[in-house]
């Protein structure tokens, strides 16, 4: 039993990490479409932008439910600490997702009076992305815990660092959305998206650099993790690969490639995610609760692991199938409604 309670939380941390990473990338690009909405006021362009993600958004958002649900299943103590600690940002994010989610359907049935739902879609996407960044930043900055419960106040999460990561997330999702449009659309929509991606890429890189300097300077444990020897040597591929991904993204945009900018932007995101994981593991709720402290009973983790190993490959297979079904460029006027 000793061994099982050591490695099960590690397996679960990897599964949960993969689910969150998938969520960030998948819902990231479709939230990004909403973030870019204000810059494209023309109705026809907005139709195309929305149609490029309409068949996928619901499946993408399900990874967020798996993220929350997975935390509840595998690490109930962490779930019980994080949710009250980020009470306001979590609920505001959910309400923003309500507006944005219904806008996908309401916008079409409301036409020609759909301005309200354009606003709901854009506003909901921006606020949801910002709050996700705030929660992430707040978590990295640390949560006050006493006797296994959150012991801070309603606004503990409100720090300069969390606000900065919130803005960075909006820019990052915007980059994913813009590169998605470069890949999935053509003509003026793709042109504008390419120009937007060229503006967002440097901003995202700057944000990543600032977070990479800010966190080790703020927290000695993160400094120790990255800059002590031999860690520095083992971990140096992370920033190097990040630079490479940024370069291929930029070059893909310059050379008018369809899909390299999107793929490189995903790589950027995953590297950023891996960087944050390296900084904070084994803490699930920094700076005190580790994945072993928060783990559910081994029987629960095992029962659910069977389901994940059986069902996750099937889920991934049909997710790929859906994306393959709706492959290729979306054209103006090619509505589904």
């Amino acid at each position: 039993m000793e061994a099982i309670s050591t490695w099960l939380p590690i397996v679960w941390a990897m599964i949960l990490g993969a689910a969150v990473a998938l969520y960030v990338v998948l819902d990231g690009f479709d939230l990004g479409i909403g973030i870019l909405f204000p810059a494209s006021p023309e109705e026809e362009r907005r139709d195309v932008m929305m149609n490029s993600i309409a068949p996928f958004w619901d499946g993408n958002e399900t990874w967020l439910i798996l993220g929350g649900g997975g935390l509840f299943v595998a690490f109930p103590l962490a779930y019980a600490i994080i949710m009250p600690a980020f009470y306001l940002p979590v609920i505001i994010m959910l309400l923003a997702l309500v507006f944005r989610g219904v806008a996908f359907e309401f916008r079409w049935v409301a036409k020609p009076k759909h301005e309200l739902w354009d606003l709901a879609f854009a506003g909901g996407s921006i606020v949801a992305a910002f709050m996700q960044g705030v929660i992430l930043g707040g978590l990295v900055a640390g949560v006050r815990v006493e006797n296994g419960a959150f012991s801070g106040g309603s606004f503990d999460w409100l720090t300069l660092f969390a606000l900065f990561t919130g803005l960075a997330t909006v820019a990052g999702y915007g980059l994913l959305g813009a590169t998605w449009l470069v890949m999935k659309t053509e003509g003026e929509v793709a042109e504008r998206a390419r120009a937007q991606a060229k503006m967002l890429l440097p901003a995202v890189l700057a944000a990543m650099a600032i977070v990479s300097l800010w966190t080790p300077l703020m927290f000695p444990r993160i400094w120790e993790r990255w800059f002590s020897l031999p860690n520095l040597f083992y971990l140096s591929p992370v920033p190097l690969l990040t630079a490479l991904a940024a370069y291929t993204c930029w070059r893909g945009l310059e050379r008018r490639h369809d899909s390299t900018p999107f793929v490189s932007a995903i790589a950027l995101f995953l590297l950023g995610f891996i960087g944050l994981a390296i900084s904070n593991l084994p803490y699930l709720v920094p700076p005190s609760v580790t994945i072993w402290d928060a783990a559910a009973h081994p029987s629960s983790q095992l029962f659910m692991l069977v389901g994940v190993l059986l069902l996750l490959p099937i889920i991934l297979a049909y997710t790929v199938f859906v994306y393959w079904t709706f492959r290729g460029k979306v054209r103006a006027g090619e509505g589904y409604h």
Partner: protein, 467 residues
Amino acid sequence: MDPDAVLLARVQFAFTVSFHIIFPSFTIGLAAFIATLLVRWRMTGEEHFRTLARFWTKIFAVSFAMGVVSGLVLSYQFGTNWSRFSVVVGNVLGPLLGYEVLSAFFLEASFLGIMLFGWNRVSPNLHVLSAILVAIGTSFSAFWILAANSWMQTPAGHEMKDGIAYPVDWLQIVFNPSFPYRFAHMFTAAYLTTSLVVLAVGARYLAARRFEKEARTMMRMGLGMVAVLAPLQALIGDRHGLNTLEHQPAKIAAIEAHWDGSKPGELVLFAIPNQTAEENSLEISLPNMASLLLTHDREGLFKGLKDFPPEDRPPVLAPFFAFRAMVGAGLLMIVIGAVGALLWLRGRLFDTRWYLHSVQYAWPLGFLAILAGWWVTETGRQPWLATGIVRTAEAASPVSFGAVLVTLILFVLVYTVVFSMGIYYINRLIENGPMGAAIGPEPGEAMPSRPLAAATDAARHAIEEAR
């Protein structure tokens, strides 16, 4: 957490969960209805089945979107409002919710994309299959969430150590004592609710002499289901009630407003139960009838509220009145089904004007019954969150009164705007009818612009009126 904040957190959760339940209970049945329409279209080749499937798919999409976003809120509210709950029962309930996400949510969300947007992208058979997979996904979802809720009502297969529940036997946890009854009752309720909506929409068109071919199909399919399911639901409900008497006697005592367990219970038709005086005022009741129903013996005894210490009693008013509302709605559905079946047998279903004109307003009955039923079972479980394991008041999060109040106000504002708009749009889709609601271009046809679609509608309307 202070008692006022607990009360607010309960109000907030009751509000969001009550809003949510409306949409899945509609889309579970609607997914199956659309899949059936598509299968019949493939088998018979009759185009009006496809027209109807496309029409209801639009309504499904709007309802499903509202169900998804309101459900997402709930999966986080367990933590934001009831964090102690996840610590105490997370080991047991976590995997049930996890299986719901893995087996149901991904299935329905992924194939929904093909069901909504794949009309011309994939082969007809694959499209029909997607609709069937969405219907299966919604049923799996109901299975797991009802297993979780039933375990909270009648926990089994676990052991308690230091105030925390640990799993012992997963089969006993999933198939806990009340689960088969609750699942059958809720699943039938979902199908019944959708059938009633379909029947009412068919009647609405026939009453206005619009889309008559489609409307007749809707009425036949809707009425066929209501006539069978409404009486069946009464039987299932009876079994469910007997199961509750066995495992949650306090809930039954509250439903019946039965205070004194040493006497046979009368069937209280109306009363104002008074929790502090421990009696009913303005009572109208049938002597010994509750005992007959619950124990199948006129002199049979079942526990009264006074048999439980006051701190273990559920509130009486909510389960008492909600139960009567549910049963009233159920009886009305049985009447609608029986009268409709009689008219159908005599060949008068489609031209009995009074029936069409009244049944078109019957669509909310199923929703009313489902909401009332959930209020019965959830308020009747109080003061426990998970019976005998953790009380609702102990499970609350360490969150301030102000934070809960602000978010409660936000929820009420947002849900009122979003969901009233949603219902308005659904009504408008129904008003436009099956012909005005093309989802996409027919194969080989240009994208219909709005005026064209409206013109087709008007032309068809005119033809039908001339007939």
